[in-house]
Amino acid sequence: MDMLTKETTIKKSPNAIESEIDGDVVLMNLDNNEYYSMDNIGSTIWKMLEEPKSIEEILEQLLEKYDVSAETCEKDTMKFLNQLLDKKIIVADE
């Protein structure tokens, strides 16, 4: 599966290990040893993925937490999650 939809359930990849520096989530991809960091909202989304979640659920929780329109939230979140999928930091559940 290579396209995410709101119905897709996603989870953290077992090949991503995580830590925090100065409050931000930092990740390492064990496949290629690259490092990534996440800003505040990215870190919030990442922390929601303690268990597999549908993107719909993630969007709902973000809208409760942040003062943002549903449209912007969905657009930005999908873009962010597609990047994570691309880097194989998250995987989509079949």
Binding site: I17, S19, E20, I21, D22, D24, V26, M28, L30, N33, Y35, Y36, S37
Partner: protein
Amino acid sequence: MKLSYKTLYGYKIDSDLELPYLRDCADGFSSKLITIRKENVPHTLENASFSGKRFQIAPGQIQTNIQGVADFLIKQNQTGFHISYTPDLNSNNYDIAAFLLGLIMAQVLHMDRYLTLHAGSLNIGGQTILIAGNSGAGKSSLLAELLKRGATLITDDVSPVRQTDQSFTIEPGHANIRLWADAARKSGFPFSDKNRIRPADDKYWIPVPEKFSGTSQEITNLFILKNKRSSDVCFQNVNGIKKMEELKAINFRKVFIRLLNREKEFFEQSTKFANTINIHNITRPEGYYANQIAERIINYLKQ
């Protein structure tokens, strides 16, 4: 016959090759033992997971070939490490000792799972700081200027970082700083030709025994001297994932993190470490600014 041990980075060292710069080991000092012996080093390492031109790696073993100097083999054992070396024709003991104390000890530290940084370290006013920088960035000159201002030396060039509970400390090295002849004269510390490290280099081990501290305090700050030049001496704070990138860049002989499959461990160690320290990048104009940078660091640490 009384055995006399030397010590380096917290190890007890029993060597048949003279390592004159190392400190004598205190009686009753108990720690991992490194034995160093002139022996036959096999050309091919069995069960090697990596075989390159200079290095071969097998579980618990690293073989290193330095042409014109020696072949070295490290074997991890129950009590610590055993290092064998076979000198090349026309090699000399100074060169062999220089490689043993540099590259080969770095391999031991990586095998022993230390976060091994290419940095000198000092105690100043109850805290420990690290000074890093590429060759030519002015690291040794800055160390010398800080020593003149009351700091004490823990390590000169390589700092093995150890985690104890929530704080990080450094395993002490030996009571010498390595300086090029020019910087050595500027430092004001006395030295002579017998302090030359290798016959071919104009570089010296400058003894600073009265400035040496065998114990580390908690590490609070890492200062990195950059090769980039600026119009003035400039300190810049490093935050977030940039701290990781800096720590990765100053890892000593970082190729061994990959060759020993320590990437995951390195990530975990350095993120923990990054959270406990401040990191500063320092740039400066061309010329001698070590005295000015030393003053800035001391004033910063007083705050």
